[in-house]
Each structure stands twice: as C-alpha cells, then as structure tokens.
Amino acid sequence: MMEEYAIGLAVAFIAVIITFVAAIREKNDIHRLIIADLAEVSVLVVIALIATDLAEALIIPGLVVGISELMALSEIYLTREGLNNPVHKPFRIEVLDTAPTIIAVILVLYGIVLSGFTGGAVAGTGVIFYFMGKRHAERFALIEAVSGYAWALWIVAFFIFMVMPEYWFFAVMLAGGAILAKVTAKMSLIGTMRGEKDV
C-alpha cells in the first residue's frame, strides 16, 4: 500500500515539475493562466492519492479554491485587455424562436419529477435553452432572489437534520425542493450570459 502511494506520489510530482517548467518558459499570459490551472489539477491528484473518505472531502474545497482563483484571474485578464464586450452577433436561426417554449416546459416538468440535484440540472437545461432562444428582458433580480431563498431553505433543512433528526422526512423534502430551485436558477443564469451588455 505504502509502496503504491510512493509510486503515485513520484508520478504526480513528475507531472508537477513538468507543469512548473512549462509555466516558467511560457510567455503568453492566457497560456500561463491555463498552465497554472493544470498545476492545480495535479495537486488534486496528490490529495486523491491518499484514497480515503477524508481525501475525497478535501478535494472539493481544493477544487473550489482553484476554480475561484481561475475565475478571478480570467476576469482580471478580460478587464486588462478590454475584452468585456462581445464582438460577434448572437447566433440566430428560426427554430430558436419557436421551439424553446415546448422543450423548456418538457424539461422543467421532467426535472421536477426527478427532483434533487439531477432534477435541478435537467430543469436548468430547459430554462437555459429558453433564455438562449428567446430574446428577453432579463429578470435577474427575481432569479437571484429565488436562488437565495432556496439556499436558505437548504441550510434550514441541514439544521433540522442536526437539531431535530426525527423530522428527517420534512428536511429531505425541503432540501430536495430547495436544491432543485437553486440548481435551476444558477443554470438558467448561464443562458442569459450572451449577447446582452453588462451581463
């Protein structure tokens, strides 16, 4: 077991060294950003080598930190290079004016049937498609408010689990419904992220 860990660690460190050498040699800023992200992925490998439940729990915060740094830096890059306004026209074909409503309704209904995280993803896909197809006056405030309340309900459900475990069924329902609304709201924001100014 320990020997396999050592071999894995050696391989991971070879990968880390290759990425670091690449980061030193690379001059193009956007390439350096991507290489830095690759380095963060390789450290997730080092954590994953421990191969216990705890390691699994440590990977998620590591990943979140990496993604947040990547997003912050890419935003800085865009601001620095003045790339914030889209230079091309949004993609338009006729079917995008007629089909979205039906498909979105089907996906959202199916998502509600599935419920939970998966259901949220399916319903969210439907709402993304709707927003991408229709040109719309956005109602970000509404979507964000729904998302915020859903998050609060989710936390409430967790408190019920910890403080009053006998009401677990109510908490499961609360958490399932809340995460459905939350994932749907988050994903639908992706659909609004094209073509409009200041979005």
Binding site: V16, V46, E69, L70, A72, R80
Partner: protein, 222 residues
C-alpha cells in the same frame, strides 16, 4: 485532549472550540495575531480611504486619486473578507483548514486591487495571481503528504506525536504560504501598492504578515 503537548512558541492555550476533531484554539500568541487582524478589519470597515497624491514631474502639479462609488464598495468588501480569512487562518486548529484560509487570503488580495482601472495594477494582480495559483500546489501537497504520513490533520494530534510531520511536508507548506502572500514576490506586491486607497491596500500587507507569523507557529508546534 485539549492541551498542547509541545507548547512551541504559542504558550498555554487560552480557549478551545471543538468541532469534532477540528479544534480551533487561541494561545497568547495566536490571540494577539487575531486581535491585530480584528482591529485592522474594523479600521477597514469604519475609515474612509485616503487620497493618493501623484506628482507630475518637472512641474508643481499634484493630482489626487479618489476611491469612490462602486469601486469603494467592492474594495471595502474584499478588504473585510481578507480580514475574516486572516482571522480564520490564525485560529484554525487543522492544517488543511489553515491552507484553505491562506489561499482564501490570496484570492482576497487579488480582489482588493481588481476593481482598480489601471493597467499597471491589473498586470501586477494577474502575475501575482499566477504565482498564488501555482503556490496552491506545494500548499495543498504539503497538507496531503501530512495526512498520508500521519493519518491526521489536527494540529492537536500532530503536536501530541511531536516530530510527526515529515520535513518535506513542512517545507512544502512554508513554500506555499510564501507564494500565497509574502516576501519573495515583493516585486509584484510593490506594483499592487500603486492602487489608491490606504486601509484596503495595507490589508494586503497585514494579512501576509500575519500568515507568516502563524505558519511559523504551526511549523514549530507540530
């Protein structure tokens, strides 16, 4: 359980707050660091930013840069977040939580200057960010090797089996903390300081100083 076996530089613990096996604690040393971070966060909340003065060379002209509106709000928010992350890192009793808080401080430092619309400052923030992304490799790598070698991340348990943490893990964590905040990358940080607005910009400095003092304490305790 709540007694640091090798007291290191920290002295006796004053207060412990156990969450399962993650036990946050104050010693006189970390308590002082915490108070310092708290006071500085309060200064960031209540003070107005200073006006940075630029001299135009060869003339008598001076112009003042102001921090107003949206930029003020965002930078104040990021400075407060940076203060909270620093307080978290100072009190944390778990090696992995400490490394997470350190990288949170790194993100907040970038955020403090990110709202400034100056190409020099944004360029410095970008380069600093690349370094701090690369520095998460030794930082988390060190924590992971500690877990693999000793089976625990709690500073309490690591202190109980004193020289348990492998030296390579210590070295990696030290390098990681350096990359996230301190001395060798002073060149990029000097450019960050061209951003106007004193209490927020100084927060960068305060947090990295406190990170360094805390990592020294951890290295000597475990």
């Amino acid at each position: 359980m709540f007694e640091l076996s090798s007291s290191g530089v920290g002295g006796q613990e004053l207060f412990v707050l156990p969450f399962g096996d993650i036990v946050d604690y104050f010693t006189p040393y970390t308590g002082a660091l915490f108070l310092f971070a708290l006071v500085f966060t309060l200064i960031c909340i209540f003070s107005k930013p200073e006006k940075q003065l630029d001299v135009v060379f060869g003339t008598d002209a001076i112009y003042a840069k102001e921090v107003t509106g949206k930029e003020l709000h965002f930078r104040r928010f990021m400075a407060i977040a940076c203060g909270l992350a620093t307080m978290g890192a100072v009190t944390s009793g778990d090696v992995f939580n400490f490394t997470l808080f350190v990288s949170l401080v790194g993100v907040c430092i970038i955020g403090i200057v990110a709202a400034v619309k100056s190409k020099h400052v944004l360029n410095a923030a970008f380069n600093y960010g690349i370094i701090s992304m690369l520095a998460t490799v030794p930082l988390f790598g060190g924590a992971a090797i500690t877990l693999a070698a000793t089976g625990t991340l709690s500073i309490w348990e690591l202190a109980a089996i004193a020289p348990a943490m492998p030296w390579i893990a210590k070295a990696l964590i030290l390098v990681g903390v350096m990359g996230e905040g301190i001395a060798p990358f002073y060149a990029a940080k000097a450019e960050l300081f061209r951003a106007p607005g004193a209490p927020y910009v100084i927060m960068i400095h305060v947090s990295s100083l406190l990170m360094f003092l805390r990592v020294v304490e951890i290295m000597l305790t475990v």
